[in-house]
Every structure is written in C-alpha cells, then in structure tokens.
Symmetry: C2
Subunit: 183 residues, 2 copies
C-alpha cells in the first residue's frame, strides 16, 4: 500500500536507480517500512506505468535512473497531508502476551525478560546512531532524526514495560493458569 509513497518520498529528495533506493530502504527506512528487492523493482515499474515517476537516464549495467514527476509530487503531497494514516498496528510480541496464561508464570516471566533485553539492545543501537548523527548533523536528515527519537522513546518504553510486566507476574505469585496438554 504505502510502499508506493515511500518510493515517491525517496525520489522526491533525489533521483536514483532501484539499486540506490534499495540501499536506502535497507539502511534508514528499514525500521519503519521494510521492503525487499523484488518489491521495489515491481513498484518502480508500476509507478512508471502510472506516470508518477519517469526514467530520466540510463547508465551502465542497465541502470535506470528514476525521477519523480509532477504528478508524483502531487500524489506525494496528497498522501502526506490529506490521507489519514493507518495507525493500526500488528504486534506479534503483544499477541503472545495475551496467551501467556498458557505457560507457567516462570516461563511467562522469562519471555518478558527476553523481550526487555531485546528492547534494551535495540535502544542501545539507536543511541549510538543518534550520537553519530548529532555529532555530525546532516541537514537533510532533520526529519529522520525525529523518527529516530521516536525509536529511542519506543524502545525505552518497551523495555520499561517488559520489566514492569515481569514484576506483575512475580508479585501475583504463581497462579493455577496452566492447562497441561490433554485437557
């Protein structure tokens, strides 16, 4: 759905080939909208068919440089400002929490502690990235920095929540929550 707009947004900043875009997706955009190689090339062809981007140059190795068109820019603005974002989220981690009554409290606590550690590790990685960015600010990445800050706050929240949730289980003490296989 939004892959189309992600590509448009990238090409609005600067023109590039599918290969160029792919690297951007794998680095900065990977955390908010992952995309695979085949997805990207497919989408570029679709966008070109729709007239939202155009091939402006062909380079060696069959390289095609894409640029956004006026129609593409219009579509991008429309999406940014007038289309209500899809805020619904799917979270496999959280889905599991609903079913934690299927395992022992110890196992549940172990799961939450693992989630907490994963969040802490992600947070640490982002902190290092943030320090690098703040030390050498890239004026083009002002808004990327806002997104990164979101990530920092999110992972911190996640970590604190996991710790709190694990404590909840401990405090309530083991309850008869397990149904062994076989009814």
């Amino acid at each position: 759905m939004s892959l189309r707009h992600a590509v448009l947004g990238l090409l609005a900043d600067r023109s590039g080939s599918g290969y160029d875009l792919l690297r951007t997706f794998q680095s900065s955009l990977a955390n908010v909208w992952p995309a695979t190689q085949s997805q990207l090339y497919t989408e570029l062809n679709r966008l070109a068919d729709a007239g939202l981007v155009a091939v402006t140059a062909e380079g060696p190795r069959g390289r095609k440089e894409y640029a956004i068109t006026d129609a593409g820019r219009t579509e991008l603005h429309h999406w940014l400002l007038e289309v209500e974002p899809e805020r619904q989220r799917r979270s496999e981690s959280l889905l599991r929490v609903f079913f934690l009554d299927q395992v022992t409290p110890e196992q549940g606590r172990t799961y939450l502690e693992r989630e907490g550690r994963a969040a802490a590790a992600a947070h640490q990685g982002m902190r290092e990235l943030a320090e690098r960015i703040d030390a050498d600010p890239d004026p083009l990445a002002v808004y990327g920095r806002l997104a990164l800050e979101w990530g920092l706050r999110f992972t911190r929240m996640q970590q604190e929540w996991a710790q709190w949730a694990a404590e909840q289980i401990t405090e309530r003490g083991p309850q008869p929550q397990v149904r062994p296989p076989g009814h």
Copy 2:
C-alpha cells in the same frame, strides 16, 4: 503467519465456533492482530486439516465448535516459547515523518499535532477501558491487562513525542525545505 497461533491461543482458553472467535478478534484482539471473517474461517479449516484443532460438536445453524488438540497445544507452546517473535514493525505514520521535508514547516507541524491528538484520544479510550477492567477484574484477562498497559504507555509516549517533534520544527524555524512541483 501468526493468525494461526492467535486462533490456537484463543481455542486453548476455551472452545468455540468461528463466529465466537470472530467476536473476540473484533473486540480484545483487534488492537494487536486484526483479522477478517474470511481469514478466520479459512484458517480454522487449515488448522483442522493440520490436526491442530478439531470439531467437537455441531450446533444449530451449521455451527461447528472447535477445540484445540494436543498437537495444537504443543504447537502453541512451541511458538510461545521457542520461536523468536517478529519485532519489526511497519509504521505508516512514521514513514511520513521521513518525508515531512517535502511540505512546509507549518504543514509538518500540523501533521504532528494531529498525530498527537490521535494518540491522546486513543490513550483516553484505553484509560476508560482500563478503569472498567480494574474495577471489575476478570482473572482470565490478567495478561490482557498487561497488553493494555502496553497500549497505555505506547499512546502516552506517542503523544509526548508528537508534541516534542512539533516543537522541534518550531524551534528550528522555517527552513528552505520545500521543493515546489516542477523541480
């Protein structure tokens, strides 16, 4: 992918028909793993084929009551404890933030303020739900309450971040970030 485990988890708590499950999906589970009717019925048939659930009774109106099997319970436990959760998330809201340099600072601020209000509203809704639950605790929903707390913390974080981000734009002052259509 995980719809299968969501269904197993629900049936592990209590048996029920597709229709029963559908209502659970639309109420409590909707926030972490939305599913449509056709998806659900398809998945139930697949699970039955795989022997992870079984029809234990047939009622009026063609109602089929499904129950989890031992194999299903084993699979659920395996998934809960031994399969690394998919933590990567897609966020359309955040994707837009990356491209906010395509609009004027005023428009960017407006977008962030709208996001902040949406988060605040979601937070309020969850707070009311939490109050109702805490006033009349359902022992079966202990873990659901943990998930709800996650939602409360998430929406609060989201709201605070949006406010902070909007201020960032204000403080930096309008910068030459707009590229008008037509290069």
